[in-house]
Amino acid sequence: MSGRGGRGGGRGRGGPMVNGRRAVAQNSVPWATDAEILLDGKPSELFPPYDVPRPPPLTRKEDKLVSYFLLFREQCQDGPLYTQARSRLSQPSPSAAAAGPSSSSSAASSLAPGARAYGQDQINQRYGLVSKATLDAFTAVPTYSQRFTRAPRALPDLASRPFAKEFFPPELHATLDGDDDDAAAGGRPGKRRRLAGAGAKTLGLSSITSYKTAEELFFRDGLAPDQPPRQGGRAKAADGELDKALQLMSTLEKRGEGDDDAGFLSGEDDEDWVRGGHGGDDDEDGAAAADEDDQYEDESGDDYNAEAYFDGNQDDDDFDDGGDDGGDYF
């Protein structure tokens, strides 16, 4: 940083001309007295070599701290209150990476990536741009591997867990129950809502017990095969697991086409976050969220026949066929 500017070359070069000589006092410059001096007339370097300071490697304790933090982050992002970043397009952001293929595409946005925003309006314009109009035609075609992408959640799943309501301002109470309806969202008469207080809700504890570092990634997470399957969209704990995926598929098959537009692997997650008497008939929050924005997560639609893929595959212990299939759509 401070390496530059010490050279001071060209001193006195700009003085006024007097009798064809520069008005520099005699003997005030080095070369006036020293005939053999070698002047360095080169311009100073634009980017002088700079020794980039490197932080020391992590100590064991720091490693532990970071692991704890990352594990905590994983658990947070797995929880029901996490809203996945999904709509920021103009910046390199986690949203672009994390959101599904539909949102990472370059939307018809006037803002170039990283463009400077002037005023709050322009900042706001960066968000919420994911709609049917902004789909990327190249990735929006339903593919097999999209079965395994997480459906980004736009609104937190508040209805699924208990709150200490007396400490919330009264205007939020309805929201906490999950029946916060706007005029905008209330357009659907047939919408099924969770009933407030239907059955006791239980706080879910995260089942993620270890954060995987790069070395451990290929290890399988320690979850028993008989664990009730969690929704593919949210659970991360052991999602990649063979048995898990198989089980998901079989449940899916059982459910048939019963699911509406809420994304395909839904319906099971309530087992995990809520234990109540309202297992099957509640609406997906993702779908609820999709109401007010243009629906950005239901591109899977009904025109995609899942069973064609799953038939005959459910008993197959080795899932690699499916994996390879998916591999093509990276």
């Binding site: 947070c76 916060d180 504890l205 664990q227």
Partner: protein, 674 residues
């Protein structure tokens, strides 16, 4: 807390990282616009009120908001809580701290609490109950599929696997006992009706109460003003004490310390440790609890100070210091005193003195620690016992940085030697403890004569004089006492206390010195110290004092000026303010440098987050793949090799960036919070 732009940005980014985009946007808006209502927020962010309400609920659940409901209009005004938002980056540290001092189960509980925000005890218990039930069921199932389970467990060896080892928290009674311990340590506090009023609102409420109750005619005269202040402080303390209601109840139900001792005895006797749980009273399940960051910070500060002592003296002394700090800060609720609430706290101090006795420390030391290490020895005649053991009943008067430096820096011309005391110590060993020979250095270091000196290897090698344990302990404490950093004050015969403000000032100064040295080299550090001890120095006088050549010196000073460690003041000699005739005074303002360092740290942390985002954008196709449920968990098998390599490189970078942020947070805590 003063929220600067980088800090606001950092808070928003942290929330984005942990809780998602929606809360983060709202939080950023609350920070920029101040307290707002839902319709206002909706207008600012161009989101629907429904989205805003959801986001606010999440923020509030995670204790990131203050709100105030106006009695007349029923509208709630929301305000951001930047302290808690910043504290998110400390999650890893807090978890680690809890694990080392309370064990893995406590860490699990704290993690759940952090994860779910404010939680009713009954909900927490129910959640754990379910998890435990689930685990037992699973364990039964695992028995059948032995081979599968064996494989999993073999791999998950170190991780707290839920399969075979069972959950970390074994039963609800166990959970209750953990909660009790955490409540007693004040790491968990109770949420009450005024928790979510912002500090200003609390102050106003209390003020109104006090005015109505005691000063209906208004506050007139000096005497009344003082009385008013005291009443205010009392009121504020009462509000604060509400969050300790659980702890008080626990103490009533059975003296906590007594029970703890009993439990420790039991734990020693019964290896299983199941009995101790029965002794803990069941906590009121209706109470809502959350993590008390203030107390966590106190514990983190203790760790930092022990680290500081390790750097200065060595491990044994630092261990003794750690025990002392732990005992001393057991009832210390926060690092920095609230200027309003703690006005008349001194009275309370008188009732419950803030000190530790030698015997108490001795009782709490582990017997396995060899106290004879780390102390040098001196001949009896070389020790001025009266000076070494002098008692300072009162804390040193608070002085400004400049004054202090002037007083202490008498011998600062060669302060560099002071840094590596080990070498100095061994040097003295060779010289057979002749204090006269290097009296100058000793004057700085030991109060007088080398009574107890850091000995390093040299001292330990000598034939140790047989000393009993209490004496050795005393020597460690005296060693800490006579440090220039004010680690410990000998406040009475065999009574010790710590003056945190003075100690932390010297810690901050040490941090600043480290930064100066890294940025401008030893020369720069030397110049900064000269300026600190001399106050303001004229440009022409500086080369003489510093014994440096003028051009070199000027270059160095300019370098330091642009880095923000020294400043120059121009004093004109006459009205014309001729530049050639003016004085230029160099000076060094520690507070200002520290402020600048703090701002730089925030900016760097924001930068770390931005680099991470850029990385994510760059690797977004890989990350998208890893998010898929069929890939997650078996990335190596499912992904192509180059993809996998890119992914692991990304993970490495992520770790490094977060580690860097945590290091910066160390600095921020020292500068701002401790």
């Amino acid at each position: 807390m003063l929220v600067t732009k980088p800090l606001a940005e950092l808070c928003a980014l942290l929330i984005d990282e942990l809780h998602g985009e929606l809360p983060s946007r709202i939080f950023a808006m609350l920070l920029t616009k101040g307290r707002s209502t839902v319709p206002q927020l909706a207008q600012y962010t161009s989101m629907t009120p429904r989205q805003i309400r959801h986001g606010l609920a999440v923020l509030h659940q995670h204790n990131l908001l203050y709100y105030h409901v106006d009695a007349s209009s029923d509208l709630a005004f929301y305000e951001a809580n930047p302290e808690n938002a910043y504290n998110l980056i400390r999650t890893g540290k807090i978890l680690e701290m809890v694990e080392t001092s309370f064990g893995a189960p406590a860490k699990d509980v704290v993690q759940s609490l952090l994860l779910s925000g404010q939680t009713r005890i009954s909900d927490l218990v129910a959640a754990y109950k379910e998890k435990i039930d689930h685990a037992t069921k699973e364990a039964a199932a695992n028995g059948e599929e032995a081979d599968w389970a064996a494989e999993t467990n073999g791999i998950n060896g170190d991780a707290p696997s839920t399969n075979k080892a069972g959950p970390v928290v074994k039963s609800t009674a166990h959970l209750n006992s953990i909660l009790c311990r955490l409540v007693e340590a004040e790491l968990i506090e109770v949420v009450h009706s005024t928790t979510f009023e912002s500090p200003q609102d609390v102050q106003k409420i209390v003020e109104k109460e006090v005015m109505d109750k005691f000063f209906p005619a208004g506050v007139k005269g000096n005497k009344a003003k003082i009385e008013f202040q005291e009443k205010m402080a009392e009121g504020l303390r009462k509000v604060r004490a509400e969050s300790k209601s659980l702890k008080r109840k626990l103490e009533q139900q059975g003296s906590g310390i007594k029970r703890r001792k009993l439990m420790e005895n039991l734990a020693m006797a019964v290896t299983n440790g199941n009995h101790e749980e029965d002794l803990d009273p069941v906590l009121d399940p209706r109470q809502v609890i959350r993590i008390n960051y203030e107390k966590c910070l106190v514990d983190l500060r203790n760790r930092r100070l022990v680290q500081f002592a390790t750097d200065m003296y060595g491990e044994t002394t630092a261990y003794v210091y750690g025990v002392l700090l732990k005992l001393l800060t057991k009832d210390l609720p926060r690092c920095r005193q609230d200027p309003l609430a703690d006005v008349s706290e001194d009275k309370h101090d008188a009732e419950k003195p803030f000190l530790v006795t030698t015997d108490l420390i001795l009782d709490n030391l582990k017997t396995s620690v060899d106290l004879s290490l780390g102390i040098g020895k001196a001949e009896r005649r070389q020790v001025s016992r009266s000076v070494a053991e002098r008692v300072e009943p009162y804390p040193p008067a608070r002085r400004t940085f400049l004054d202090e430096a002037e007083v202490e820096g008498e011998a600062s011309a060669d302060e560099d030697e002071e840094d590596d005391e080990s070498s100095e110590g061994s040097e003295e060993d060779e010289e057979d403890y002749k204090p006269v020979a290097n009296g100058e250095a000793n004057g700085v270091n030991g109060t007088n004569g080398a009574r107890v000196k850091f000995a390093g290897a040299g001292g330990a090698a000598k034939e140790p004089r047989r000393l009993d344990r209490p004496t050795q302990l005393r020597q460690h404490l005296l060693l800490l006492c006579e440090s220039t950093q004010h680690f410990v004050r000998h406040c009475g015969p065999d009574e010790w206390t710590v003056d945190f403000p003075a100690l932390l000032r010297s810690l901050r100064e040490t941090e600043l010195d480290t930064v100066i040295e890294r940025k401008c080299g030893r020369q720069g550090l030397r110049l900064a110290r000269i300026l600190r001890s001399k106050g303001k120095l004229e440009e022409k006088a500086l080369p003489n004092v510093a014994l440096m050549r003028k051009p070199e010196l000027q270059q160095k000073m300019l370098e330091m000026q642009s880095a923000g460690f020294v400043w120059v003041q121009e004093v004109p000699r006459d009205l014309k303010a001729d530049v050639k005739k003016s004085f230029f005074l160099w000076f060094c303002d520690v507070e200002r440098s520290l402020g600048q360092m703090l701002a730089n740290s925030y900016t760097t942390m924001v930068h770390c987050m931005q680099v991470l985002e850029a990385l994510r954008y760059k690797e977004r196709d890989v990350l998208e793949t890893t998010k898929r449920t069929d890939v997650r968990g078996r990335e190596k098998d499912a992904m192509r090799k180059e993809y996998y390599e890119r992914y692991s490189r990304y993970l490495d970078c992520e770790r490094k960036l977060f580690a860097q942020m945590m290091r910066l947070d160390d600095l921020v805590s020292v500068l701002r919070d401790f």
